[in-house]
């Protein structure tokens, strides 16, 4: 929604002027060039975010406050050992340094914020400060998204895409209400992608390794980076090794890791650090099932169990599986009927699907191919990974947004995955007031994205099969409002039916959300993989001219 403020002239003419100006000026990161409608979007979103300061905040808020305290009042050698709070530091060192940086103003504003024993401190000062740092650090994302507009082939389309990423309900729900710093870190990821688009692959690699040292979840994307940089930067098209490039990249990446991990290696804390970063004691599913393949498998198992019980079929039933219904516990998920899943299975499945797209990336190491492969890499990890959080869906949604306006096929995939992905984030906010806000905001966002992009890419479905598919997908999307109504009315319905909501019934709305969203997310993966592997070389699309 470009808020039509009266001060600017007709957008089209304005745009032309700016583009002409742009071609005259050398591009630099410091130049102050933000257009009026971009200011509108920034101000609108900031105003909305300011209004959300009072909202519910999850334990992640206290997690980050605790990290401010740890990094401020303890020496570096104790950062990864401290257990004063149950929310120990479990992000890589760069994020710890970032928190250290943030702790100086915090200590100036209110020294109580950085007191390590001051657990669950929630005065207005700390809320104001931490929420503000999220908004300010998100400016990294904003400025990178602006740079995306400036050099793009179709800047008006890219402007919509940039706006859609900046205003993404995922960021609003996770960062500004639930509380995390994803906007900032996705800013670095997009910066790295932007560098890849500009052909500055060394910078792209460096930025990505910096990002890895902020939050290690981005390892989901690492295979695509590895193959892309290796194929297109370290090897010549003929396949010969470009020694100079290779050494430059390798040294730079090593340097980044030395800066990050060096201090901890020097005092011999690397094993402790790694044990904090990778705790392998969790179950297959998170408390609330992330909408991935395992959610579908677990749901199938539950259904089969009911079926077996009803029919009295004589099959070996795993007794502990009957008990394990994943009732909001971070424990192991044990199946009752189906064979159990071990970490190694999830690992193999992930690698298998990743390598399919990596082969394609190896053959066509273009920017667009890289972007798709990157999305698919994150996607495979999300779908098949061990103990995946629902929040990780952003790893798919953000890069996929960049592809949204390529063609109808991409656009439709984007819409399906965005709707189901954002919907799957809804259970993060369960308080009544925030629940209304998340729905209204997401509806507004999807309306804005859908309406402004659909006509740019529209293609008529060509075969009867495609017409049917189109219809089925529309029906699926239309199911979301119904699902929303159902899960909200569920407590009232269940109470009037059974008297009270108990046991497994309590988690039925969550399961229903998870399974219904999983269908869309998995289908989106199949779509995207199919489109990627069958990509024609010549077609229209805003990224097609960028190598």
């Amino acid at each position: 929604m470009q808020s039509p403020s009266r001060s600017h002239p007709a957008p089209v003419e304005h745009l032309k002027d700016v583009e002409q100006e742009k071609s005259l000026r050398p591009s630099s990161w410091l130049q102050w060039d933000v257009e009026s409608c971009e200011w509108d979007i920034l101000l609108f979103s900031t105003a909305v975010k300011l209004l959300l300061y009072h909202c519910y905040r999850s334990t992640d808020f206290e997690v980050h406050r605790n990290w401010l305290a740890i990094t401020h009042s303890l020496p570096l050698s104790k950062w990864y050992y401290d257990t004063t709070s149950e929310w120990t530091l479990d992000y890589p060192p760069f994020f710890a340094y970032f928190e250290k940086l943030l702790s100086f103003p915090a200590a100036f504003i209110d020294p109580k914020i950085v007191e390590i024993s001051n657990l669950n401190y929630d005065s207005w000062s700390v809320i104001l400060y931490q929420r503000t740092t999220v908004i300010l650090s998100e400016l990294v994302l904003a400025s990178v998204l602006l740079r995306f507009i400036r050099g793009s082939v179709d800047s008006s389309t890219q402007r919509i895409i940039s706006a859609s990423i900046f205003l993404h309900p995922g960021f609003l729900i996770i960062d500004h209400i639930h509380f995390q710093y994803n906007g900032f870190m996705f800013g670095i990821l997009l910066w790295s992608i932007l560098m890849a688009r500009k052909g500055n692959k060394l910078a792209s690699g460096i930025l990505f390794s910096i990002l890895l040292n902020f939050k290690h979840i981005y390892m989901y994307l690492a295979p695509a980076y590895f193959i892309y940089l290796l194929r297109s930067y370290c090897l010549a098209p003929s396949g010969r090794l470009q020694v100079k490039n290779f050494l430059a990249l390798a040294n730079a990446v090593i340097a980044v890791f030395v800066v990050s991990l060096g201090p901890f290696i020097a005092i011999g804390q690397l094993p402790q650090l790694l044990s904090r970063l990778f705790p392998f004691t969790r179950g297959l599913n998170h408390a609330y099932w992330a909408p991935n393949v395992w959610a579908l498998v677990t749901a199938t198992d539950r259904l089969l169990l009911q079926y077996v019980k009803r029919k009295g079929i004589d099959i070996a039933i795993n007794a502990s599986g009957v008990a394990s219904t994943s009732r909001g516990l971070v424990g192991d998920t044990v199946f009752a009927v189906l064979p159990n899943i071990r970490p190694v299975h999830t690992f193999m499945a992930t690698i298998f699907f990743q390598s399919i797209c990596l082969v394609k990336l190896w053959i066509t190491p273009t920017y667009k191919s890289f972007l798709t492969a990157l999305t698919l890499c994150g996607y495979s990890s999300f779908l098949f990974g061990w103990h995946v959080h629902e929040k990780a869906i952003l790893l798919v949604l953000v890069p996929l947004s960049l592809l949204a306006a390529e063609r109808q096929a991409y656009f439709r995939t984007f819409i399906i995955v965005s709707v189901s992905g954002v919907f799957s984030l809804f259970p993060l906010l369960f308080t009544p007031g925030e629940s209304i806000i998340k729905v209204v905001y997401s509806a507004l966002w999807i309306m804005f994205v859908y309406v402004s992009l659909r006509k740019r890419v529209y293609e008529f479905p060509r075969t009867p099969a495609l017409v049917v598919l189109d219809l089925v997908e529309k029906l699926y999307l239309a199911g979301f409002p119904l699902l929303l109504i159902l899960i909200n009315l569920f407590p009232a319905l269940a109470t009037s039916y059974r008297g009270s909501v108990t046991g497994a019934m309590e988690f039925l709305p969550l399961m229903a959300t998870s399974v219904y969203c999983a269908i869309g997310v998995v289908w989106g993966f199949i779509r995207l993989l199919f489109v990627y592997l069958n990509e024609d070389r010549i077609y229209q699309g805003q990224l097609s001219e960028i190598q």
Binding site: R6, W39, L43, A47, V48, I437, M447
Partner: protein, 574 residues
Amino acid sequence: MHKRGIREWVLPGALLASVLVKLGVGMGSYSGMGTPPMYGDYEAQRHWMELTVHLPIREWYSYDLPYWGLDYPPLTAYVSWLCGIIGTWIEPSWFALGKSRGIETPGSKVFMRSTVVLLDALVYVPALLMFLRIWQGSRSQRTQNNALLTLLFQPALLLIDFGHFQYNSVMLGLTLAAMNCFAMGRDLWGAVFFVLSLGFKQMALYYAPAIGTYLLVKCLYLGRPEGERLFLRLTAVTVSTFILLFLPFLPPFAHLSTLKQSLIRIFPFSRGLFEDKVANFWCATNVLIKWKNWASPDFLVKISTLLTAVGFLPSVVNMFYLGRKMQLAKSAAADTANNNSTAQPPFLALLPYALLASSMSFFLFSFQVHEKTILLPLMPMMLLLSGAQIDSPAYMWGALLNNTAVFSMWPLLKRDGLGLQYVATLVLWNRLIGYNPFRWPPKTLVHILSQGVFVAAFGLHLLEFVVTPPKRYPDLFPVLNVLVCTPVFLLGWLWAIKCGVEVGWALGGVGPVSAKAASANTEDTGSAPMGEKGRKEGERENGMSSGRRWNRAGSVEYSQTRRRGMAEGMEEEE
């Protein structure tokens, strides 16, 4: 972007975005949150729902008066009753009699907040949409959308209704609906709506002089048989609506003392001259003259009533004068053209200015004014602003008055813990209307004034942030706030009167009516829609120049092309 099938989505988008902002403001604290034993306006409204659900009607105005006894007119009570019924159906503990006092569970908060958003969406927003279709129907979709955004995101109303917690938008929406009905020529419906508005909140009385005068002048304008008939009908409709509103309090249903009790509650003359610090004449002059020591309350009531009357008299007289002149013109031309009496009378364009002047004079001079009451003058001001071109006087004044009004409520908002919401809504709205008072150099007087006021406001905020007030003057900052705001409101009131007179001149001419002007007049009013369309087209071609010319007479952009054309004839006459 605007070409690709987006246009039809702007309206739902804007409405949804405004709902989002309203809900967002509602996430914050409200008046009296977590402050037992009395809490604040939120608890008052909730308490009324509680008592109306559980008590018989005759006890509504007499139940436990010290704890937020009901003191709004019956329509508020009925609406509270309805909300209470629905709320009790969802969760009985929210409105349990006596036991629910001060209840602040997340569920009850969300319910209360959503009643405000829903009532706003049912009354105020439709009235705004109707207003744009009826009063600005001849303008482009884009202009109308801009106007809608201006109106929807008005920060003062957002902060008070959705932050502080009140239902002002219902009262304002009903008055606006009345204005819409007048513009459509459905005066009886308009009267019904205005009575409903009065019946929702007695504050709507601030508009009564303007609306009463309008209807009276219209009766005079229509002349003997028709005007009389209209007058009788209006009286009948008004009286019967009032009777209907108060029906449960009237003899067959209740003892007469019930009615008396409700009236005593609705019009409390026993309170002081003003409460807290409010940016009106009394509070501002109180710095020099301590009114309460100087005169008896009785005398003060009288003098404030007198001053208020003097305050709204100019605009009332102006409307009478214009109506009289128009009527003469009409009767002079009666034999040359057909009479189309059902159409809008020409002095309709005066109505917003009259509403502004009258409500502002009440705000400035009357008895027992709250700082929130500034919302009433703001409503007509916002309507004028929404139709004004950027940088026109109405635009500059509208932006200045609105921002000053929000600033004048700062002490209240600060007490409610709505500081962030204050910043966010102000920034958002000023950006939406494209307002930047600090553009240099300032061109007009009002522009210089705005800059001065805003510098003072920023300075005060900064000072308040840095300095703690000395013990001797704990109210230092609220008083300074009043001293900054009151002159602006006074000037706004004078401006409204000035504009009313100017528009009057433009419509009716300064001198006595000549036959030629009269005939020009009727030709215009009698012209067919087709002819009007042609003129509109012509105007679009030299839109700029005619627009310029117009700004002289305040922003009458409002008045539709018909009146525009007519008045142009008058100008030539001059």
